[in-house]
Symmetry: C2
Subunit: 66 residues, 2 copies
């Protein structure tokens, strides 16, 4: 589950031409945390999911489907 | 944000005729935690969001939209 979420995040991030660094900087989050979310090794929070979606200009739905 | 999420969860839970107790028991979670999520006072986790959606037989999307 976490890995699937992470893969979708990575795919959308790359499609939107965001580096991990740019996403992390914009969200005021550590790059390592973005990396861990994308690798599915941490169980991120609801607020982080919403912030990630806002930063990538997507609906949170896209991080759960496709 | 957390409050909106909580309100949607509560609405869907009631529509699906789940009590907080039934949802909590099915997910092996404390009733108080479900209550806090619905009141928007805790920032729940990705895995909890996925488990809630599975238990209510909905897509996680429905917890973020509508």
């Amino acid at each position: 589950m976490l890995k699937d979420f992470g893969k979708r995040l990575r795919g959308i991030r790359l499609k939107r031409k965001f580096t991990q660094e740019k996403l992390a900087f914009t969200m005021e989050m550590e790059i390592s945390q973005i990396s861990r979310i994308e690798r599915g090794v941490i169980n991120t929070s609801l607020l982080n999911i919403i912030k990630i979606a806002e930063t990538l200009h997507i609906s949170p739905c896209e991080l759960f489907e496709g």
